[in-house]
Symmetry: D3
Amino acid sequence: MSMKPIEYADASPEVRAVYDDIKRTRAVPDVNNFWKHLAHDPAGLKRTWESIKQVMAPGALDPLMKELIYLAISVTNGCGYCIASHGAAARKAGMSEAMFGELMGVVGMANETNRLANGYREPIDEAFE
Amino acid sequence: MSMKPIEYADASPEVRAVYDDIKRTRAVPDVNNFWKHLAHDPAGLKRTWESIKQVMAPGALDPLMKELIYLAISVTNGCGYCIASHGAAARKAGMSEAMFGELMGVVGMANETNRLANGYREPIDEAFE
Amino acid sequence: MSMKPIEYADASPEVRAVYDDIKRTRAVPDVNNFWKHLAHDPAGLKRTWESIKQVMAPGALDPLMKELIYLAISVTNGCGYCIASHGAAARKAGMSEAMFGELMGVVGMANETNRLANGYREPIDEAFE
Amino acid sequence: MSMKPIEYADASPEVRAVYDDIKRTRAVPDVNNFWKHLAHDPAGLKRTWESIKQVMAPGALDPLMKELIYLAISVTNGCGYCIASHGAAARKAGMSEAMFGELMGVVGMANETNRLANGYREPIDEAFE
Amino acid sequence: MSMKPIEYADASPEVRAVYDDIKRTRAVPDVNNFWKHLAHDPAGLKRTWESIKQVMAPGALDPLMKELIYLAISVTNGCGYCIASHGAAARKAGMSEAMFGELMGVVGMANETNRLANGYREPIDEAFE
Amino acid sequence: MSMKPIEYADASPEVRAVYDDIKRTRAVPDVNNFWKHLAHDPAGLKRTWESIKQVMAPGALDPLMKELIYLAISVTNGCGYCIASHGAAARKAGMSEAMFGELMGVVGMANETNRLANGYREPIDEAFE
């Protein structure tokens, strides 16, 4: 059973408050499907949004850097929705096509060498401890 | 059976040439275990190193950004050796403890929301296509 | 090449015997696509069904608990077919929307903290050994 | 570089407040290593704990059910620390050895059939949409 | 944003040279979508193709064996595109339906027992070190 | 809590029967740790062994090919125990060091290109359907 997205007009005040904060924080006219489905669990919606807002805020890493990392993980995990949404978010945050190409190069090699290290049963060098 | 690392003194000229290039490129006195085990397959050693050298070179993304992405993927995949080695490499490239904390925050939330998107069977928004 | 599902009318006696047992055990009028494709390997069909039947039977864990665990793993692995089919099975076994929301909360946090534990290279507490 | 755990005696007031809440909520004399390492990022520590506390509280699913799901995911992801810590937590919450055996049976079959569904490229049955 | 495939007619000389080598090596009239998208990053296209060409060439393992391994990994990772393309490549290299059925049996059991070994926290036997 | 392995001398007749069949089938003097821990769930032990015996028997794929596939998946999933045990099994079945090196090359490239296909959101070519 696919759940229906909960549109703003049909949302409870608790859900609307989260939607409003997302729209304000991101300066977007509407929230994307991710939130409209998660809204079936209002407590989860609020918790997830507040965590995302805290984690993705500018800090020691800037928003572009954070979006690139988010995209790299979504690609690694093969999450189709997340690749599309965080690809768009990364582009909005300044990711150029050249950056995307290099990002994919790193993602590919990391996924390759992670397996080489496992398969060769590499002991951790003392210098890395 | 654990393979033994191949030390420089015992390496073939083909393997030594790769070791020399790693040491020169990275300005390190010796190569780490990853390469010493991979050296059992000289063609794979050479190919992997040349790919890594190309992918990790400065470009549209700087070396620190690339190391942060590498570390994020290694953590996502749970590769113990890679977390240790790329954690060290990221620190050497300039990752502060504050950056590491924020990186882990993004890694955690991306792995969480990747599953939420899957579980709620989110359809991709038209705006992301 | 996508394989065609093998319908009951076209199935061998060996395959029909498995289909009959699935229909009887689950009280359903037809088997779902999973089995109709797996039927291209009759030995695998029989083995997989008998394993599933044994594993999902009521025991120390009741059928709802087992379906919830099955769904949580399918979401973690991002298997679209399995999320749809085991979501339906879990609902049939009694999963309410509130349970689904809480399940997704646990799935999300487990996938997050699994990576935090890896990334921070947590040593196992003596009390857990 | 392995980080050192931050013990209560060395913790900032902000970190101590989280430790105190964990100890009170779980009725344990000390927090486990997971939290002592995460404490290097006090904002992440507080956010993660509050999320875990909300998600693992009794609700439509009881605490044992939630711990079983947590354990099943940790096993699927191969997180050694999490398997040890959530195995202990599940036992404390009432998981018997028979339950553990059945849990592992479901985990194994779900990981198997997730791949069979992918490999046979199963189309989702209309009844599951 | 979905990228558009880069067709031969629109490709740069650098990209055309890779396309030509793929077509010649594989004796196919056109390259498949994988390469046409990767062509947005010409350096990555060239590096990936040369690595694939080296790795998939006949050696101690024959091409069919290599395609079977490639397919098994693609199924394990749940990569839809790769399951389709390497399923086709394996059939072209000689995979019969009986081989595919047995391959899927091994893939399923390996994914199952990988989790049983993790969940039971199996210590490695001395004989395997 | 780590479980203790169940040795033959301490095993129930039901468990001993499985151990005897493993020893006879594989011509080994004792079973390895995997089975000695799984023996805590005698029904799971019997089911898993019978499935493995069926799946790994010679058929359209020979035992060496099956062991290579098993090892490739174990490396992809990062299961330390399984990499050690199936590495040993593959060597016993005839895997040379050259084969292992080539296997790792394929494993690495498959894990890399699986992510490239996801990240570039590759549409499946008509020829592969």
